[in-house]
Subunit: 136 residues, 2 copies
DNA sequence: TTATCTATATATAATGC
DNA sequence: TGCATTATATATAGATA
């Protein structure tokens, strides 16, 4: 049974989008609640869906108001410093991959050095790491 | 290696609380981002931690402001209707368990009826469903 | 439509560097 | 402190009732 492997894009099918929304909203609210409890932080979430004029909030309208008021008092420039968004995620992922690349390159250099010193070509060749560098 | 089984309560140990905060905040922001994308909803999150004066927000300060403004325009009573919080979670759990209890009771009645009609005591007894009702 | 059921995907606690 | 690993726990897509 193939169950998942969802691409991160707007779900066109109405019923499945709604179903996903319901499940994920519940999960999200639980996560916010857990973070608050475990780490003693003040957190809130507001979700507007197109099916409803009212937003769904955590922890409560009053709680949201209190946090929002705190937030509004802060100058926008200060707020930006701690912004967390998709761009940040992507950047994190990129730097992680870059690190891996660096590590692999070093590994290759070591292998190559080994080959030159001891003529141990077979092992490296087996691992497919010695393809001639194509003219790119 | 025993790895997890965390109770949902404030983590006293400073370093592990901070580590947990970092991980879970990241996960949470990702979840908000995914919900927005998958379901095309307008969502935001604000997290204040004690280690920092600035909150961490999704999707951006401007986005939060926009959503928050929408929220503020709404009368409080309307807001309450769609409140999702821990109380709601608990209520949901309770009603789910209540349903189970109802189902099991019905099952027991059926079993008992069967016994009376056909004298098929053994099966029901094996399943441990025929304990005498205690005076409670 | 809502609820339940599982196979899988994802998140994350503990650990070592 | 932060990052990487990995064993587990949790979330959830898809199917079914």
């Amino acid at each position: 049974m193939t169950r998942k492997k969802v691409k991160l894009a707007y779900i066109n099918n109405d019923s499945s989008r709604k179903a996903t929304y319901k499940k994920r909203k519940k999960g999200l609210m639980k996560k916010v609640s857990e973070l608050s409890t475990l780490c003693g932080v003040d957190a809130c979430a507001i979700i507007y869906n197109p099916y409803d004029t009212q937003p769904e909030v955590y922890p409560s309208p009053a709680g949201v108001h209190r946090i929002v008021t705190k937030f509004k008092k802060m100058p926008e420039i200060e707020q930006s410093k701690k912004m967390v968004n998709q761009e940040t995620f992507l950047k994190q992922k990129i730097s992680k991959v870059s690190e891996q690349v660096k590590k692999l390159k070093k590994e290759n250099r070591d292998k190559e050095m080994n080959r030159l010193l001891y003529g141990n070509l077979s092992e490296a060749a087996m691992e497919g790491r010695l393809e001639p560098s194509k003219s790119s």
